[in-house]
Symmetry: C2
Subunit: 204 residues, 2 copies
Amino acid sequence: MEIEVKADGRRARGDESRALVLHEAVNLASVVGLHGLTFGSLALRTGRSKAGIQILFSNKEKLQLETVAFARGMFADAVIRPALSTQRGLPRLKKLFGNWIRYATEPLFEGGCFMVANLAEIDSLRGPLHDALFADHASWISVLAGEIRFAVEAQEILDTDPEVAAFAVDAILCATNTSVRAGDANAIARARRALDIFLVPVGV
Amino acid sequence: MEIEVKADGRRARGDESRALVLHEAVNLASVVGLHGLTFGSLALRTGRSKAGIQILFSNKEKLQLETVAFARGMFADAVIRPALSTQRGLPRLKKLFGNWIRYATEPLFEGGCFMVANLAEIDSLRGPLHDALFADHASWISVLAGEIRFAVEAQEILDTDPEVAAFAVDAILCATNTSVRAGDANAIARARRALDIFLVPVGV
Protein backbone atom coordinates (compact mmCIF):
# COMPACT_ATOMS: atom_id res chain seq x y z
CA MET A 1 0.00 0.00 0.00
CA GLU A 2 2.72 2.37 1.14
CA ILE A 3 4.73 1.42 -1.94
CA GLU A 4 1.72 1.96 -4.24
CA VAL A 5 1.17 5.45 -2.83
CA LYS A 6 4.82 6.26 -3.40
CA ALA A 7 4.65 4.90 -6.97
CA ASP A 8 1.55 7.02 -7.69
CA GLY A 9 3.24 10.05 -6.22
CA ARG A 10 6.22 9.50 -8.49
CA ARG A 11 3.96 9.05 -11.48
CA ALA A 12 2.03 12.23 -10.68
CA ARG A 13 5.30 14.18 -10.42
CA GLY A 14 6.45 12.54 -13.67
CA ASP A 15 3.25 13.59 -15.48
CA GLU A 16 3.61 17.14 -14.17
CA SER A 17 7.24 17.33 -15.33
CA ARG A 18 6.28 15.89 -18.69
CA ALA A 19 3.50 18.47 -19.19
CA LEU A 20 5.80 21.31 -18.14
CA VAL A 21 8.56 20.20 -20.52
CA LEU A 22 6.09 19.56 -23.36
CA HIS A 23 4.59 23.01 -22.94
CA GLU A 24 8.03 24.53 -23.42
CA ALA A 25 8.74 22.09 -26.27
CA VAL A 26 5.62 23.26 -28.14
CA ASN A 27 6.62 26.89 -27.67
CA LEU A 28 10.18 26.26 -28.79
CA ALA A 29 9.06 24.22 -31.82
CA SER A 30 6.61 26.98 -32.82
CA VAL A 31 9.62 29.30 -33.10
CA VAL A 32 12.52 27.14 -34.31
CA GLY A 33 10.62 24.15 -35.73
CA LEU A 34 10.53 20.55 -34.51
CA HIS A 35 14.06 19.94 -35.77
CA GLY A 36 15.36 22.65 -33.48
CA LEU A 37 14.04 20.82 -30.38
CA THR A 38 16.95 19.60 -28.29
CA PHE A 39 17.13 18.18 -24.77
CA GLY A 40 19.72 20.86 -24.00
CA SER A 41 17.56 23.82 -25.03
CA LEU A 42 14.58 22.40 -23.11
CA ALA A 43 16.76 22.01 -20.02
CA LEU A 44 17.74 25.68 -20.33
CA ARG A 45 14.12 26.82 -20.77
CA THR A 46 12.65 24.70 -17.94
CA GLY A 47 15.53 24.84 -15.46
CA ARG A 48 15.50 21.03 -15.33
CA SER A 49 18.45 18.76 -15.95
CA LYS A 50 19.10 17.57 -19.50
CA ALA A 51 19.55 14.00 -18.19
CA GLY A 52 16.17 14.13 -16.40
CA ILE A 53 14.43 15.30 -19.59
CA GLN A 54 16.16 12.59 -21.59
CA ILE A 55 14.87 9.95 -19.14
CA LEU A 56 11.31 11.28 -19.57
CA PHE A 57 11.34 11.13 -23.39
CA SER A 58 13.98 8.49 -24.29
CA ASN A 59 14.98 10.01 -27.63
CA LYS A 60 14.48 13.03 -29.88
CA GLU A 61 11.87 11.42 -32.12
CA LYS A 62 9.71 10.44 -29.13
CA LEU A 63 10.05 13.97 -27.78
CA GLN A 64 9.00 15.39 -31.18
CA LEU A 65 6.00 13.03 -31.42
CA GLU A 66 4.83 13.88 -27.89
CA THR A 67 5.28 17.56 -28.71
CA VAL A 68 3.02 17.22 -31.77
CA ALA A 69 0.40 15.40 -29.65
CA PHE A 70 0.57 18.06 -26.93
CA ALA A 71 0.20 20.86 -29.50
CA ARG A 72 -2.82 19.04 -30.98
CA GLY A 73 -4.46 19.00 -27.53
CA MET A 74 -3.77 22.70 -26.96
CA PHE A 75 -5.16 23.60 -30.40
CA ALA A 76 -8.30 21.50 -29.81
CA ASP A 77 -8.84 23.15 -26.40
CA ALA A 78 -8.39 26.67 -27.80
CA VAL A 79 -10.09 26.44 -31.20
CA ILE A 80 -12.30 23.35 -31.63
CA ARG A 81 -13.84 22.47 -28.21
CA PRO A 82 -15.15 25.98 -27.43
CA ALA A 83 -17.09 25.80 -30.74
CA LEU A 84 -18.78 22.44 -30.08
CA SER A 85 -21.63 23.96 -28.08
CA THR A 86 -22.46 26.31 -30.98
CA GLN A 87 -25.08 25.17 -33.51
CA ARG A 88 -23.65 23.13 -36.38
CA GLY A 89 -23.11 24.60 -39.86
CA LEU A 90 -22.55 28.30 -40.51
CA PRO A 91 -22.80 29.42 -36.82
CA ARG A 92 -20.16 26.86 -35.77
CA LEU A 93 -17.94 27.76 -38.74
CA LYS A 94 -18.02 31.43 -37.69
CA LYS A 95 -17.23 30.44 -34.11
CA LEU A 96 -14.31 28.28 -35.32
CA PHE A 97 -12.97 31.20 -37.40
CA GLY A 98 -13.31 33.56 -34.42
CA ASN A 99 -11.47 31.12 -32.16
CA TRP A 100 -8.80 30.60 -34.79
CA ILE A 101 -8.27 34.33 -35.26
CA ARG A 102 -7.91 34.79 -31.49
CA TYR A 103 -5.45 31.86 -31.51
CA ALA A 104 -3.37 33.60 -34.21
CA THR A 105 -3.51 37.12 -32.75
CA GLU A 106 -3.08 36.32 -29.04
CA PRO A 107 -0.78 33.46 -29.84
CA LEU A 108 -1.20 30.33 -27.79
CA PHE A 109 2.26 29.32 -28.97
CA GLU A 110 5.26 31.63 -28.75
CA GLY A 111 5.95 31.46 -32.49
CA GLY A 112 2.33 31.64 -33.68
CA CYS A 113 0.56 28.68 -35.29
CA PHE A 114 2.42 25.47 -34.44
CA MET A 115 1.16 23.79 -37.61
CA VAL A 116 2.30 26.59 -39.94
CA ALA A 117 5.71 26.71 -38.26
CA ASN A 118 6.24 23.01 -38.92
CA LEU A 119 4.31 21.84 -42.01
CA ALA A 120 6.69 23.42 -44.52
CA GLU A 121 9.71 22.10 -42.63
CA ILE A 122 8.40 18.55 -42.31
CA ASP A 123 6.63 18.22 -45.67
CA SER A 124 9.51 16.62 -47.57
CA LEU A 125 10.38 14.13 -44.82
CA ARG A 126 8.80 10.70 -44.47
CA GLY A 127 8.22 8.80 -41.23
CA PRO A 128 6.21 8.90 -37.99
CA LEU A 129 6.73 12.63 -37.38
CA HIS A 130 5.55 13.58 -40.88
CA ASP A 131 2.59 11.21 -40.54
CA ALA A 132 1.53 12.57 -37.12
CA LEU A 133 1.70 16.20 -38.22
CA PHE A 134 -0.10 15.69 -41.53
CA ALA A 135 -2.75 13.49 -39.85
CA ASP A 136 -3.46 16.34 -37.41
CA HIS A 137 -3.62 18.80 -40.30
CA ALA A 138 -6.02 16.55 -42.25
CA SER A 139 -8.15 16.10 -39.15
CA TRP A 140 -8.51 19.89 -38.71
CA ILE A 141 -9.45 20.27 -42.39
CA SER A 142 -12.06 17.52 -42.00
CA VAL A 143 -13.59 19.40 -39.03
CA LEU A 144 -13.97 22.42 -41.34
CA ALA A 145 -15.27 20.28 -44.22
CA GLY A 146 -17.88 18.67 -41.95
CA GLU A 147 -19.31 22.04 -40.95
CA ILE A 148 -19.20 23.36 -44.53
CA ARG A 149 -21.06 20.23 -45.72
CA PHE A 150 -23.65 20.75 -42.97
CA ALA A 151 -24.06 24.42 -43.94
CA VAL A 152 -24.51 23.51 -47.64
CA GLU A 153 -27.06 20.79 -46.85
CA ALA A 154 -28.96 23.11 -44.51
CA GLN A 155 -28.93 25.66 -47.36
CA GLU A 156 -27.18 28.20 -45.14
CA ILE A 157 -24.49 28.80 -47.77
CA LEU A 158 -24.34 28.41 -51.55
CA ASP A 159 -23.36 24.98 -52.84
CA THR A 160 -19.60 24.36 -52.77
CA ASP A 161 -17.38 21.28 -52.58
CA PRO A 162 -16.75 20.95 -48.82
CA GLU A 163 -13.30 19.35 -49.21
CA VAL A 164 -12.07 22.02 -51.63
CA ALA A 165 -13.56 24.89 -49.62
CA ALA A 166 -12.12 23.53 -46.33
CA PHE A 167 -8.69 23.24 -47.95
CA ALA A 168 -8.92 26.85 -49.16
CA VAL A 169 -10.17 28.11 -45.78
CA ASP A 170 -7.24 26.47 -44.01
CA ALA A 171 -4.82 27.86 -46.62
CA ILE A 172 -6.18 31.36 -45.94
CA LEU A 173 -5.87 30.89 -42.16
CA CYS A 174 -2.27 29.65 -42.49
CA ALA A 175 -1.30 32.59 -44.73
CA THR A 176 -3.01 34.94 -42.27
CA ASN A 177 -0.93 33.54 -39.42
CA THR A 178 2.21 34.40 -41.40
CA SER A 179 0.89 37.93 -42.15
CA VAL A 180 0.04 38.50 -38.48
CA ARG A 181 3.51 37.35 -37.43
CA ALA A 182 5.06 39.65 -40.03
CA GLY A 183 3.25 42.63 -38.50
CA ASP A 184 0.67 43.20 -41.27
CA ALA A 185 -2.03 45.33 -39.57
CA ASN A 186 -4.52 44.48 -42.33
CA ALA A 187 -4.14 40.69 -41.99
CA ILE A 188 -7.29 39.90 -39.99
CA ALA A 189 -9.65 42.16 -41.95
CA ARG A 190 -8.37 40.65 -45.21
CA ALA A 191 -8.76 37.11 -43.84
CA ARG A 192 -12.41 37.76 -42.94
CA ARG A 193 -13.12 39.08 -46.43
CA ALA A 194 -11.32 36.16 -48.07
CA LEU A 195 -13.30 33.66 -45.97
CA ASP A 196 -16.52 35.40 -47.02
CA ILE A 197 -15.75 34.58 -50.66
CA PHE A 198 -16.01 30.88 -49.77
CA LEU A 199 -19.01 30.99 -47.53
CA VAL A 200 -21.67 32.90 -49.37
CA PRO A 201 -24.93 32.89 -47.37
CA VAL A 202 -27.95 31.81 -49.40
CA GLY A 203 -30.05 34.76 -50.53
CA VAL A 204 -27.25 37.35 -50.40
CA MET B 1 44.71 47.46 -71.24
CA GLU B 2 46.29 44.17 -70.27
CA ILE B 3 45.47 44.89 -66.63
CA GLU B 4 41.87 45.71 -67.54
CA VAL B 5 41.46 42.47 -69.42
CA LYS B 6 42.84 40.59 -66.44
CA ALA B 7 40.52 42.43 -64.08
CA ASP B 8 37.53 41.66 -66.32
CA GLY B 9 38.56 38.03 -66.49
CA ARG B 10 38.75 37.90 -62.73
CA ARG B 11 35.36 39.58 -62.44
CA ALA B 12 33.81 37.19 -64.95
CA ARG B 13 35.18 34.24 -63.01
CA GLY B 14 33.91 35.85 -59.78
CA ASP B 15 30.42 36.29 -61.24
CA GLU B 16 30.39 32.70 -62.40
CA SER B 17 31.47 31.44 -58.98
CA ARG B 18 28.90 33.65 -57.32
CA ALA B 19 26.08 32.33 -59.52
CA LEU B 20 27.17 28.74 -58.93
CA VAL B 21 27.31 29.20 -55.16
CA LEU B 22 24.01 31.12 -55.11
CA HIS B 23 22.28 28.39 -57.09
CA GLU B 24 23.31 25.88 -54.44
CA ALA B 25 22.41 28.36 -51.68
CA VAL B 26 18.86 28.70 -53.03
CA ASN B 27 18.51 24.91 -53.18
CA LEU B 28 19.87 24.43 -49.70
CA ALA B 29 17.68 27.22 -48.25
CA SER B 30 14.59 25.72 -49.93
CA VAL B 31 15.25 22.57 -47.87
CA VAL B 32 16.72 23.76 -44.55
CA GLY B 33 15.63 27.42 -44.57
CA LEU B 34 17.75 30.57 -44.84
CA HIS B 35 18.99 30.10 -41.27
CA GLY B 36 20.48 26.77 -42.20
CA LEU B 37 22.72 28.39 -44.86
CA THR B 38 26.35 28.14 -43.81
CA PHE B 39 29.59 28.79 -45.67
CA GLY B 40 30.68 25.27 -44.64
CA SER B 41 27.66 23.48 -46.12
CA LEU B 42 27.95 25.51 -49.34
CA ALA B 43 31.63 24.59 -49.59
CA LEU B 44 30.66 20.91 -49.28
CA ARG B 45 27.92 21.21 -51.92
CA THR B 46 29.95 23.19 -54.46
CA GLY B 47 33.38 21.64 -53.89
CA ARG B 48 34.78 25.16 -53.39
CA SER B 49 36.76 26.33 -50.39
CA LYS B 50 34.88 27.79 -47.45
CA ALA B 51 37.34 30.70 -47.35
CA GLY B 52 36.76 31.45 -51.03
CA ILE B 53 32.99 31.53 -50.53
CA GLN B 54 33.40 33.76 -47.49
CA ILE B 55 35.43 36.23 -49.57
CA LEU B 56 32.65 36.32 -52.21
CA PHE B 57 29.85 37.10 -49.73
CA SER B 58 31.56 38.75 -46.73
CA ASN B 59 29.09 37.55 -44.09
CA LYS B 60 26.07 35.33 -43.56
CA GLU B 61 23.47 38.10 -43.83
CA LYS B 62 24.85 39.26 -47.20
CA LEU B 63 24.84 35.65 -48.37
CA GLN B 64 21.20 35.29 -47.23
CA LEU B 65 20.16 38.53 -48.94
CA GLU B 66 21.86 37.56 -52.21
CA THR B 67 20.21 34.15 -51.97
CA VAL B 68 16.77 35.78 -51.67
CA ALA B 69 17.53 37.99 -54.69
CA PHE B 70 18.76 35.01 -56.73
CA ALA B 71 15.64 33.00 -55.85
CA ARG B 72 13.48 35.98 -56.89
CA GLY B 73 15.17 36.00 -60.29
CA MET B 74 14.70 32.25 -60.76
CA PHE B 75 11.02 32.51 -59.77
CA ALA B 76 10.44 35.42 -62.15
CA ASP B 77 12.13 33.52 -65.01
CA ALA B 78 10.08 30.36 -64.38
CA VAL B 79 6.66 31.74 -63.46
CA ILE B 80 6.19 35.43 -64.33
CA ARG B 81 8.22 36.19 -67.49
CA PRO B 82 6.83 33.29 -69.56
CA ALA B 83 3.32 34.70 -68.91
CA LEU B 84 4.05 38.26 -70.03
CA SER B 85 3.43 37.52 -73.71
CA THR B 86 -0.04 36.14 -72.88
CA GLN B 87 -3.00 38.52 -73.07
CA ARG B 88 -3.66 40.41 -69.81
CA GLY B 89 -6.46 39.44 -67.41
CA LEU B 90 -7.94 35.93 -67.22
CA PRO B 91 -5.71 34.37 -69.93
CA ARG B 92 -2.54 35.64 -68.20
CA LEU B 93 -3.83 34.52 -64.77
CA LYS B 94 -4.38 31.01 -66.12
CA LYS B 95 -0.91 31.03 -67.64
CA LEU B 96 0.57 32.21 -64.30
CA PHE B 97 -1.26 29.40 -62.44
CA GLY B 98 -0.05 26.84 -64.98
CA ASN B 99 3.53 28.08 -64.65
CA TRP B 100 3.24 28.05 -60.85
CA ILE B 101 1.88 24.51 -60.82
CA ARG B 102 4.76 23.34 -63.01
CA TYR B 103 7.14 25.19 -60.66
CA ALA B 104 5.67 23.32 -57.66
CA THR B 105 5.46 19.88 -59.27
CA GLU B 106 8.75 19.84 -61.17
CA PRO B 107 10.44 21.80 -58.46
CA LEU B 108 12.82 24.48 -59.57
CA PHE B 109 14.24 24.41 -56.03
CA GLU B 110 15.27 21.18 -54.33
CA GLY B 111 12.89 21.72 -51.39
CA GLY B 112 9.92 23.05 -53.39
CA CYS B 113 8.75 26.66 -53.19
CA PHE B 114 11.54 28.83 -51.81
CA MET B 115 9.04 31.35 -50.43
CA VAL B 116 6.96 28.76 -48.56
CA ALA B 117 10.09 27.19 -47.11
CA ASN B 118 11.17 30.52 -45.66
CA LEU B 119 8.18 32.80 -44.95
CA ALA B 120 7.05 30.94 -41.81
CA GLU B 121 10.62 30.79 -40.54
CA ILE B 122 11.37 34.45 -41.13
CA ASP B 123 7.94 35.95 -40.27
CA SER B 124 8.71 36.74 -36.61
CA LEU B 125 12.12 38.27 -37.32
CA ARG B 126 12.71 41.93 -38.16
CA GLY B 127 15.50 43.34 -40.34
CA PRO B 128 16.77 43.39 -43.93
CA LEU B 129 16.22 39.66 -44.53
CA HIS B 130 12.59 39.79 -43.35
CA ASP B 131 12.02 42.95 -45.41
CA ALA B 132 13.52 41.48 -48.59
CA LEU B 133 11.54 38.25 -48.37
CA PHE B 134 8.22 39.92 -47.55
CA ALA B 135 8.75 42.58 -50.24
CA ASP B 136 9.21 39.78 -52.80
CA HIS B 137 6.09 38.06 -51.50
CA ALA B 138 4.07 41.30 -51.69
CA SER B 139 5.38 41.93 -55.18
CA TRP B 140 4.18 38.48 -56.37
CA ILE B 141 0.76 39.08 -54.81
CA SER B 142 0.55 42.46 -56.57
CA VAL B 143 1.28 40.77 -59.92
CA LEU B 144 -1.72 38.51 -59.25
CA ALA B 145 -3.88 41.42 -58.03
CA GLY B 146 -3.06 43.44 -61.17
CA GLU B 147 -4.28 40.66 -63.45
CA ILE B 148 -7.38 40.02 -61.32
CA ARG B 149 -8.21 43.76 -61.45
CA PHE B 150 -7.76 43.72 -65.22
CA ALA B 151 -10.03 40.65 -65.53
CA VAL B 152 -12.72 42.27 -63.37
CA GLU B 153 -12.59 45.54 -65.34
CA ALA B 154 -12.71 43.66 -68.64
CA GLN B 155 -15.74 41.78 -67.23
CA GLU B 156 -13.98 38.46 -67.76
CA ILE B 157 -14.67 37.41 -64.16
CA LEU B 158 -17.30 38.37 -61.57
CA ASP B 159 -16.52 41.39 -59.42
CA THR B 160 -14.13 40.63 -56.55
CA ASP B 161 -11.68 42.64 -54.45
CA PRO B 162 -8.38 42.11 -56.33
CA GLU B 163 -6.20 42.44 -53.19
CA VAL B 164 -8.26 39.96 -51.18
CA ALA B 165 -8.59 37.50 -54.07
CA ALA B 166 -4.84 37.70 -54.84
CA PHE B 167 -4.03 37.04 -51.18
CA ALA B 168 -6.32 33.99 -51.18
CA VAL B 169 -4.94 32.70 -54.50
CA ASP B 170 -1.39 32.90 -53.14
CA ALA B 171 -2.49 31.19 -49.90
CA ILE B 172 -3.95 28.33 -51.95
CA LEU B 173 -0.79 28.03 -54.05
CA CYS B 174 1.41 27.97 -50.91
CA ALA B 175 -0.76 25.30 -49.26
CA THR B 176 -0.68 23.33 -52.51
CA ASN B 177 3.11 23.40 -52.52
CA THR B 178 3.09 21.84 -49.04
CA SER B 179 0.55 19.18 -50.15
CA VAL B 180 2.64 18.33 -53.22
CA ARG B 181 5.77 17.99 -51.07
CA ALA B 182 3.86 15.79 -48.63
CA GLY B 183 2.97 13.41 -51.47
CA ASP B 184 -0.74 14.24 -51.77
CA ALA B 185 -1.71 12.93 -55.23
CA ASN B 186 -4.89 15.05 -55.23
CA ALA B 187 -3.09 18.34 -54.52
CA ILE B 188 -3.08 19.84 -58.01
CA ALA B 189 -6.65 18.91 -58.91
CA ARG B 190 -7.86 20.40 -55.62
CA ALA B 191 -5.83 23.58 -56.20
CA ARG B 192 -7.41 24.08 -59.64
CA ARG B 193 -10.90 23.69 -58.17
CA ALA B 194 -10.12 26.05 -55.28
CA LEU B 195 -8.76 28.68 -57.70
CA ASP B 196 -11.95 28.37 -59.78
CA ILE B 197 -13.99 29.49 -56.75
CA PHE B 198 -12.15 32.82 -56.89
CA LEU B 199 -12.19 33.41 -60.58
CA VAL B 200 -15.73 32.91 -61.72
CA PRO B 201 -16.07 33.75 -65.42
CA VAL B 202 -18.90 36.16 -66.18
CA GLY B 203 -21.95 34.36 -67.53
CA VAL B 204 -21.22 30.98 -65.92
